[in-house]
């Protein structure tokens, strides 16, 4: 997030898109609901499902799946045409405005309606509402990013925020709600194929030299590595021989699971380090028991870039080890000893090589976490990014045209499928499915379908149906729901039985390499 969680309640208008906030970030959704219920903020929701948070919205727009760039361009078209944009901000803080203006020229509300299905007047109203407010906050989640156009979608939201001057102040911002406890930290720490910690590029000589010196090694690779979504197919064609997996369950979470399983079967060595014997661990050659959050000390970085303490409360079961200890012991056996007394000792090393974390110490975050960047021990942290200037100097408008998703419905597969999480489960369910109470509320996979579609396909609430895409077929229970919009069905991806990802499309965003989980085409029939 460019801004903080608390900032959400300081906005005059909140635009939520591609985020089922009440189910996936319930505590943040409470802030949104408080702001709206108290009359402090007005809410726009843009989502293909009529999700709970849309009940709080003044304006709810329902776009066809995979048409985000079109409606965002449409809003910007209206804002520029009606002269509602922040001309001072555009002039002082941004560049390439003319190119943006040229590309959004053709996205008239009427043209956007033909792509997105959003009635022209609704789009105009939403544009006026967002641009007319004092400070506007944009909240988004995987509904924006998990597309072949994911990078374009995010850039488009950034365009919209910059156009209205909504960056660099409290209450504003472009705010991705991150879905996992430490996904922010995993990125910050260089758990990515192209960067070291704090996003220092691996192919930058200075950065590479700095790390080589700090780590006292030679021969660091300066070529960008494979993304997770590239490793799987690389296993199939033999370029990847070994995969070491920590706390992940790609055999439920990856797209096009049948193919993914086939790929991993080609590996010569798979090591899995986890809490449980997951679907992925079962395929491994070696499985190593690790500790869960309640059994370890350390830090997580949350979605607002706040680095917070994690503290050990209980002993680990059996011989489970800290993940860092497993890795350092292995490293020692491969000729590179890493000796750390505890997690704090590792954090001290992180501070040395990570400018944005340099000022953070365990002592300073004992009671309350700090937002990075925090450059030195006197630095108060940075709750709001881009206050005076952007990282690159001026904010760059990207002129982006809408591209359709990789797969759309046709005669054979006439329905759109979109996937996501539900309130009672988390990711592949390895943790939540071991709570009987959570399971009682959400015991099995289901397909959410509109009453009209249920009638059209001759299926009833609670009945079982077969759902098939070009890549696979599953069975699930029918949930007829007012959240569903006719022509589009939703399946949660948590369940290994009735796994939504047997159906999803592994088509990737060309830059981010993120799969298009949010759009594919399926057909549906009563289960035989």
């Amino acid at each position: 997030m460019t801004n903080t969680i608390a900032c959400v309640e300081e906005a005059d208008v909140i635009l939520i898109t591609g985020s089922n906030t009440t189910e996936n970030h319930p505590v943040i959704s409470a802030g949104v609901k408080r702001a709206v219920a108290s009359g402090r903020a007005r809410l726009i929701v843009v989502d293909p499902r009529r999700i709970k948070i849309s009940e709080f919205a003044e304006t709810y727009l329902r776009p066809t799946l995979g048409t985000d760039v079109a409606w965002i361009n449409g809003m910007m078209h209206v804002i520029i045409k009606e002269n509602l944009h922040d001309k001072q901000f555009v002039e002082d803080r941004t560049e390439n405005f003319e190119a943006l203006k040229a590309v959004v020229e053709k996205y008239t509300p009427e043209y956007v309606e033909t792509i997105t299905g959003i009635p022209a007047q609704q789009l105009i109203d939403a544009a006026r509402l967002y641009a007319g407010a004092g400070v506007g906050s944009i909240l988004y989640c995987m509904g924006i990013t998990q597309h072949t156009s994911g990078t374009d979608n995010v850039k488009s939201l950034a365009n919209l925020a910059m156009l209205c001057g909504n960056l660099g102040m409290r209450g504003g911002g472009v705010n991705p709600l991150r879905g996992q406890n430490n996904v922010q930290g995993a990125c910050d720490m260089g758990g990515l194929p192209n960067v070291f910690t704090a996003y220092q590029p691996v192919n930058n000589d200075d950065a590479s030299q700095k790390m080589a010196t700090a780590w006292n090694v030679e021969g660091l690779s300066t070529s960008i590595g494979m993304k997770a979504t590239e490793m799987i197919p690389a296993a199939h064609d033999g370029r990847l021989k070994a995969l070491y997996v920590i706390g992940e369950n790609p055999l439920v979470s990856d797209p096009d699971l049948n193919h993914a399983e086939d790929c991993l079967g080609h590996l010569e060595l798979m090591v899995v380090q986890d809490l449980f014997m997951t679907e992925t661990a079962r395929m491994a050659d070696v499985v190593l028991p690790s500790r869960c959050f309640a059994e370890k000390d350390g830090t997580f970085s949350n979605t607002e870039r706040r680095v917070q303490r994690v503290r050990q409360a209980v002993d680990a079961p059996g011989e489970a080890w800290d993940d860092w200890k497993i890795l350092t012991e292995l490293s020692g056996r491969m000729g590179y000893p890493m000796n750390y007394a505890d997690s704090e000792a590792i954090f001290e090393e992180i501070r040395q090589v990570t400018p944005s974390y340099a000022g953070i110490t365990y002592h300073r975050i004992e009671m309350e976490g700090l937002h990075w960047p925090c450059l030195n021990e006197e630095h108060p942290g940075t709750p709001v990014l881009h206050g005076v200037q952007f990282t690159r100097g001026k904010g760059m408008f990207h002129a982006i045209d809408w591209q359709p998703p990789a797969e759309v419905p046709d005669q054979e597969f006439p329905l759109y499928l979109t996937t996501g999480r539900i309130l009672y489960h988390y990711h592949t369910g390895t943790m939540t499915m071991r709570s009987e109470d959570l399971m009682e509320r959400a015991p099995e996979s289901f397909v959410e379908i509109s009453p009209q579609d249920a009638t059209a396909y001759g299926v009833a609430d609670g009945g079982r149906v077969s759902i098939a895409s070009r890549r696979g077929q599953i069975e699930a229970r029918v949930k007829v729901s007012p959240k569903a919009v006719t022509g589009t069905v939703f399946i949660p991806f948590h369940y290994a039985q009735g796994a939504a990802n047997k159906l999803t499309n592994a088509a990737l965003d060309p830059i981010a390499g993120i799969p298009e989980y949010k759009v594919c085409a399926v057909k549906l029939s009563p289960a035989s």
Partner: protein
């Protein structure tokens, strides 16, 4: 003791009041309770819920203000210039004792504080047993605001006829037990649900002596808009709302609290793990800390059973002839080190990939990418941010 008086202002210009004989400064908009809280004067509250509009419902926070006709609720009375306030005067204490006595007589408050009238004790206990389906004491004995106050003011419910609560316990959901016989109708849960979480699942229903906190026109929680965030349980000052897994299982003094960060989504809620015998038995939100200020969701509050699940992996496993066999750490690590070294030598570093994790700590992610880069010599390191 003086409040923080500003230089250059005469006393007449400042917002000052006198509480229990000491002078304190206050800001416009502060209540008497706010000023007291800032200055470590303990005015007891029951219905007051931080961050919401005071209802003044329970009146336990009444104070004596010079010149006022009646005692005033500190939670809902704005601090006023030159007010002279007594927070524990005989009149105040008497009022609080009366309120507590009535509350203790208003339902199944069967802790020692209820008193033990020889006349009604057995009948009362039998009623509790019948309503409560249990012969034990109140499930929050020792962790109850009402009991604390009864003790502080030395009040029992003796001498007043116990009210019979006509509503049975509701426990048909997996998370929360609602015991209406212990409810004091303070309304904190209603505010927690409507004003803090804004789920609007519960409200006051019926009237007079039949008043009850209802969900969806008096249905069980599971059939209402309730999403089991448990904000109401955390707000309940008595034993009316209790976690199902905790009830009659966990006594508060048997547990230790450890503050940590939630393991589920990226909000990073601050929570306390309540630990007994090396097991997490309850979770609560940290009230005064960002980013969640006490709020949690159903996963954060109730989804902790996986920690002590019997399914946890406890030993390294090596697959031999298609079957996993337990191995020592030495064996397993030597096996992996040898295989990785050989693959690196024979096929090059780029033949190895490492998926680190969005679930593990910063420290562990750092070590993981360092291992990939410095030891394996590859940048094939990623995690599930995209998935």
């Amino acid at each position: 003791m003086r409040g923080s008086s500003e230089k250059g202002k005469t006393m007449a210009d400042q917002n000052l009041l006198v509480m229990n004989g000491n002078e304190f400064a206050f800001e416009a908009g502060e209540t008497i309770l706010d000023v007291a809280g800032r200055n470590s004067i303990d005015i007891p509250t029951l219905c007051h819920l931080k961050g919401t509009t005071p209802t003044g419902a329970c009146r336990i926070c009444v104070v004596e203000v010079e010149g006022a006709r009646t005692l005033l609720p500190a939670c809902a009375t704005p601090a006023g210039k030159n007010m002279v306030i007594q927070t524990e005067s005989p009149k105040v204490v008497e009022a609080r004792r009366t309120i507590l006595k009535l509350l203790l007589a208003s339902g199944n408050h069967n802790c020692a504080a209820r008193g033990s009238d020889e006349q009604d004790w057995t009948e009362f206990q039998l009623a509790v047993e019948r309503d409560d389906r249990s012969d034990q004491l109140c499930p929050v004995w020792g962790d109850c605001r009402l009991q604390d106050l009864a003790y502080r003011y030395q009040v029992t419910g003796e001498g007043l006829p116990g009210t019979v609560i006509p509503y049975p316990i509701e426990d048909v959901n997996p998370f929360i037990v609602r015991d209406f016989s212990r409810c004091i109708l303070c309304g904190r849960c209603v505010q927690a649900c409507n004003d803090v979480q804004v789920n609007k699942a519960i409200s006051f229903g019926f009237r007079g002596s039949e008043t009850k906190i209802i969900a969806a026109g008096d249905k069980p929680l599971k059939d209402s808009d309730c999403v089991f965030c448990g904000e109401c349980v955390q707000a309940c000052p008595v034993g009316a709302l209790v976690e199902k897994s905790v009830r009659y299982e966990v006594r508060p003094w048997e547990t230790e609290r450890v503050r940590t960060t939630c393991t589920y989504c990226g909000v990073g809620c601050q929570l306390y793990l309540h630990v007994r015998d090396n097991r997490v038995v309850k979770v609560t939100g940290v009230q005064d800390a960002a980013p969640n200020y006490g709020s949690l969701c159903v996963k954060g509050r109730f989804g902790y059973n996986f920690i002590s699940s019997p399914d946890r992996l406890t030993h390294p496993l090596i697959k031999r002839n298609g079957e996993f066999q337990e191995a020592s750490w030495d064996e397993a690590l030597a096996f992996v080190a040898e295989k990785l070294t050989a693959l690196k030598e024979n096929h090059g570093p780029e033949s190895i990939g490492l998926l680190t994790s969005a679930r593990i700590s910063n420290e562990e992610n750092y070590v993981a990418q360092k291992f990939a880069r410095a030891v394996l010599k590859t940048n094939n390191v990623d995690h599930c941010a995209r998935l």
